[in-house]
């Protein structure tokens, strides 16, 4: 014996379903409004707010894909709602089964061919953008950077400019009439990483034993945020990435300053001695000292950077002291060891580091 639910009961179910959906739509909208608050500094790395050619082409493509999939959703969802409302069992007590339909070749053909056509259109639109981004020609004016992923920080080398820095990438803004894009060669020193600045370009992985490439072509100056997007070990979360897009003049000034040797003021000789006589120099390069290590960031112009510990902390006096004494307090599991210096050594060292403009 088959039970038949009441008409009212299934009606309530449908009503509830609609209610839940409305509520969800409301939440989504509210959440969207909360975060859509762009400022000049670009604090929210929103992929739909691009400021660079490749990210912009992706946004155009994504709008098209979202439009097509959104339409499919509307059609199929309306069908589902219609079916659930229209064909709910409302015959109280009736025992007759509905007409037994086994299928229809025409209908099956229709809903096979239409999706195939949609797939072809989506594919062609996608293939165009793949080609435009991946096979882009490198202009002669392009800035070249080698980015090397480390556990858990970024090394940036500008082979043409002779500049080495870490975690904070500086690139010139690119004028569409005279584009000066930045082409990055991506390498890894240890595990897999992924370079991702959502507003400037999609992500590309840095894989050991492999050379990858990506490019940025920013149209607006400012600070753009990103971070490592491929799980690379304990401190994957604090492998942050900052990209400063400078005006061409600012970029030249920055590069010239980075090319200078490190400050070797005799007043800070004590601090420099601490650097040279402890394990610091095993990992850190510091132009003009005996330090040529490559495991940690180059410190020659440490104070030109706003952050330390790959963006985990602001580059202030207190944070610098804490980072040297007890890195785990800022970034537990990072490969920087606690240096266990005496207070006098620490004072001298931090004073010296703070002169490295």
């Amino acid at each position: 014996m088959r039970e038949t639910p009441h008409k009212t009961e299934s009606g309530v179910i449908v009503g509830r379903l609609a209610g839940v959906l409305l509520l969800l739509a409301g939440i989504l909208l509210a959440a969207g409004l909360c975060v859509a608050n762009p400022t000049t500094n670009h604090p929210v790395p929103n992929i739909f707010d691009p400021h660079s050619t490749p990210a912009d082409s992706i946004r155009h493509l994504s709008h098209f894909v979202l439009g097509v999939t959104g339409l499919i959703f509307l059609v199929v969802f309306s069908l589902l709602v219609y079916v659930v409302v229209k064909f709910r069992d409302r015959a109280v007590g009736a025992e007759r089964e509905p007409a037994q339909v086994y299928g229809s070749t025409q209908i099956e053909l229709a809903w096979t061919i239409i999706p195939i056509l949609i797939v072809v259109v989506l594919f062609l639109a996608t293939a165009r953008v793949i080609h435009a981004i991946q096979d882009a020609r490198k202009p002669a004016e392009a800035v070249e950077v080698t980015a090397i992923g480390h556990q858990f920080w970024w090394e940036f080398r500008y082979p043409e400019l002779g500049v080495v820095t870490a975690n904070e990438l500086h690139v010139p803004v690119s004028d569409p009439s005279h584009p000066t894009p930045t082409f990055l060669k991506l390498l890894s020193a240890d595990t897999d990483h992924s370079f991702w600045i959502p507003q400037l370009a999609g992500k590309t992985d840095l894989i050991p034993n492999r050379v990858n490439e990506t490019w940025l072509d920013p149209h607006e100056t400012g600070l753009f945020l990103g971070q490592c997007a491929q799980y690379c070990g304990t401190q994957h979360a604090k492998m942050l990435l900052r990209v400063y897009v400078d005006s061409p003049e600012d970029f030249k000034v920055w590069a010239r300053r980075q090319q200078q040797p490190a400050n070797d003021d005799e007043k800070e000789a004590a601090g420099r001695r601490v650097f040279e006589r402890t394990a610091c120099l095993n990992c850190h390069a510091l132009n003009g000292t005996r330090g040529t290590g490559r495991f940690g960031p180059d410190l020659t112009h440490l104070m030109s950077r706003k952050t330390i510990a790959a963006g985990a902390s602001l580059n202030t006096h207190e944070n610098l002291r804490l980072w040297i004494q007890n890195p785990d307090a800022i970034k537990p599991g990072s490969l920087m060891p606690a240096m266990k210096l005496s207070d006098a050594e620490l004072d001298a060292l931090v004073r010296y580091l703070e002169t490295l403009q």
């Binding site: 014996m1 038949t4 639910p5 299934s10 179910i13 509830r16 839940v20 959440a31 975060v35 929210v44 790395p45 929103n46 992929i47 990210a55 992706i58 493509l61 199929v76 069908l79 589902l80 659930v84 064909f87 069992d89 409302r90 015959a91 007409a99 339909v101 086994y102 229809s104 209908i107 096979t112 999706p115 195939i116 797939v119 989506l122 594919f123 996608t126 293939a127 793949i130 981004i133 991946q134 240890d190 595990t191 897999d192 991702w196 959502p198 370009a201 999609g202 992500k203 590309t204 992985d205 894989i207 034993n209 492999r210 990858n212 945020l225 997007a229 799980y231 304990t234 994957h236 979360a237």
Partner: protein, 557 residues
């Protein structure tokens, strides 16, 4: 075997000491008991994996939270993923296949009952080994830790240089052991379906559940084999000085990715195809109509199986493949959408013109349809490789595959529980608790996974134990965590329902849903030998023919 002999056996079972009952369960080769063992085993791990998910969500509730350390967090997401895929989803689906396939094709057991038991215990060993890493991961002195290399254990993170100790070895052997179990079960299911169908049950009259499990088993053979090979290569790297994936000695990190994803993507279909099967059995019964377009459904399933073998590198769009490779994997991935779409339309076609009854199994199937639709569409977005360069590795992807696995697979599975529980236990699950379970889980699910897409669009990568404030991620992550708790409560309601109904549920009778496939022709629970005399069938719906002798299906097929 006469029905008399069956009756005697059942009488013996009552009133025996529990040790003997336990012994019978441990040594059983009966497909129904093994099915139940698989399902119970998976439910235990579902709760464990759920607890791990809760730890992850509490940690991410607000920025710079310190509920757990980064090390613990990394172990939690590794164990959560590994557990849910290998020790919840696979065994629970094998459990249902084990229980249902012989009953639905009119067989008395699986083709190889002992292989069946061996496969189950291998899988069980795998789960035990994985969790033993908490104790023995760093050696034998009990100071253990779980693997923290992520559930796909990318090279070279899983090499000895970056993963010292034995935690990732336990991960490797756990997957190897359960993989052999899966291969055994797949061989068993294929052989059973090919050679043990009852008289009259041609391939074109086989229930869709059997068809889809046949396809799923074929995919298991093709997908688990490369995974097992890769695990052995990893062991060779770690212990015998091999350099397959050891990048420091010239090995290839991308080789591991290819091995893993040629398993990993078909695996998604290994999990979802049996859930298509549940929907294809449940939706017709509660719409009171046969499945719309049976041959097309079979064809679409086989088509999905073939095409899904050529899409694996869409997990690798960001590794710097050239534009031709990216285009190829874009088109193959989008192409899977066609047969999948056909299935959705066919289920809608089945409901069209029917008399839909909103019993709990049907509610879960409608939820499955709705969520699977959305999961498929976000899948199309991810297939568009440039779009994927933004979405890959972000919380958008996490939301997408949870939409598939929770919104699709788990919803269909819950539907299957409510639908076949009466057959397995002889008692109905409580409808009131069932509806409460459904609505709570639906609300929790959407709160969690709808919102989870957005932080991904705002640049939040996955697998980070903490995040910076001010990037627009805080509110969303907080709401996502609330949703996770609602889902947790809903699962507790479900578990309570399973236990309470086992003792107090209404008696089910042979055929509580007025259904049409062979399992409903025998008692609930079915006798040890299933059928006292092997049935003969003349159509896809043998019980419809029996109930409507004036208008049998066999006239139309």
């Amino acid at each position: 075997m006469s029905s008399e002999a069956i009756a005697i056996q059942t009488a013996e079972a009552a009133g025996q000491p529990w040790v003997q009952t336990l012994h019978e369960w441990v040594t059983t080769v009966d497909h129904k008991r093994l099915g139940i063992l698989y399902i119970l085993y998976a439910l235990v791990f579902l709760v464990i994996g759920g607890v791990e998910a809760t730890v992850i969500r509490i940690q991410l509730m607000r920025p710079h939270n310190d509920f757990v350390s980064p090390q613990v967090f990394n172990r939690m997401f590794t164990m959560h993923g590994t557990t849910m895929i290998f020790f919840v989803a696979m065994p629970i689906l094998f459990g249902f296949a084990n229980y249902l396939v012989p009953l639905m094709i009119g067989a008395r057991d699986m083709a190889f009952p002992r292989l069946n038991a061996f496969s189950f215990w291998l899988t069980a060993l795998g789960g035990f080994l994985l969790y033993f890493s908490f104790l023995g991961g760093s050696g034998l002195y009990g100071a253990g830790n779980a693997p923290d290399v992520g559930w796909w254990a990318y090279a070279p993170l899983a090499s000895r240089a970056f993963s010292p100790g034995h935690s990732s070895d336990y991960w490797t052997i756990a997957i190897l052991a359960s993989g052999f179990g899966s291969i055994g079960t797949a061989i068993n299911i294929i052989t059973t379906i090919v050679s043990m169908r009852c008289p009259g049950m041609t391939l074109s009259r086989m229930p869709l559940l059997a068809w889809m499990n046949l396809v799923m088993s074929g995919m298991v053979l093709l997908a688990i084999s490369p995974l097992s090979a890769a695990q052995i290569m990893l062991l060779v790297d770690r212990y015998l000085g091999g350099h397959f994936f050891d990048t420091q000695a010239g090995g290839s990190a991308t080789l591991w990715m290819h091995f893993f994803w040629i398993f990993g993507h078909p695996e998604v279909y290994v999990l979802i195809i049996p859930c298509f099967a549940f929907a294809s059995e449940i939706i017709p019964v509660f719409s009171r109509k046969p499945i719309f377009g049976y041959p097309v459904m079979v064809g679409a399933t086989v088509c999905i199986a073939f095409v899904s073998m050529s899409v694996w590198a869409h997990h690798m769009f960001t590794i710097g493949m050239n534009s031709y490779a990216n285009s190829f994997f874009t088109i193959t991935t989008m192409a899977v959408g066609v047969p999948t779409g056909i299935k959705i339309f066919n289920w809608l076609g089945t409901m069209w013109g029917g008399k839909i009854q909103f019993k709990t199994p049907m509610l879960f199937c409608i939820g499955f349809l709705f969520q699977f639709l959305i999961a498929g569409l976000t899948g199309i977005m991810l297939a568009s490789s440039p779009f994927d360069w933004q979405l890959s590795g972000s919380y958008f992807v996490v939301a997408h595959f949870h939409y598939v696995i929770v919104g699709g697979i788990l919803f269909a599975l819950f539907g299957a529980f409510y639908y076949w529980y009466p057959k397995i236990t002889g008692r109905m699950l409580n409808e009131g608790l069932g509806k409460l379970h459904f609505w709570l889980f639906l609300i929790g699910f959407h709160l969690t996974f709808d919102l989870m897409h957005i932080p991904g669009l705002l640049g939040m990568p996955r697998r980070i134990y903490t995040y910076e404030p001010g990037r627009g991620w805080e509110t969303l992550n907080f709401l996502v965590t609330i949703g996770a708790f609602i889902q947790g409560i809903a699962v507790l309601v479900f578990v309570a329902n399973l236990i309470i109904s086992y003792f107090k549920g209404a008696k089910a009778g042979n055929d509580p849903w007025d259904a049409w496939t062979l399992e409903w022709s025998v008692s609930s629970p079915p006798p040890t030998y299933n059928f006292s005399s092997i049935p003969a069938v003349a159509s896809r719906r043998p019980l419809w023919d029996l109930k409507h002798p004036e208008d049998p299906d066999s006239h139309y097929e």
